[in-house]
Symmetry: C2
Subunit: 95 residues, 2 copies
Amino acid sequence: MAVVAKWMCDRDNTMFDNKKDADAYDKMLELAEGFSALLLQHIPSVDEARAEEFGIFLAKNKEAVMQACKGRVEALEEINGDASPSNVSPLSAQA
Amino acid sequence: MAVVAKWMCDRDNTMFDNKKDADAYDKMLELAEGFSALLLQHIPSVDEARAEEFGIFLAKNKEAVMQACKGRVEALEEINGDASPSNVSPLSAQA
């Protein structure tokens, strides 16, 4: 038996084994909230959960967003292909 | 009478007096289209014109978007305050 340190992101209570991952997750959610808030302000008719999801999507792909802002707009299309929408799960390969 | 060079962005036929401004506008619209496309893919129920508008908003504020992605998320809130939605026009100061 042992006592193990855990880290919790208090935005959504997700648990992590180390502080670095918890910090990164917290920062990602913070950015996501910023994007979602912008979207909801501009298009108030958008479903809030959908807006939150889109914010998380942009935040998770912030590297591509930055590249696009710097001029390589194709970066946005590339994440398009990778990240499947949440209602479509890729088939997992069978060994 | 004189012949004057003009530059047109063929995405929406906006005219410019110099190539530099036309290029910058074209690049901004390209980025905007990238963002709008992402939004429409994630939230297909969003009104297309609204999605386009939101893409243009993000593209016009790409400096703040980049700052937020780099960690200064407040940058997004700051543009929130500045950029009034298209249906609200600031009163112009009378001299």
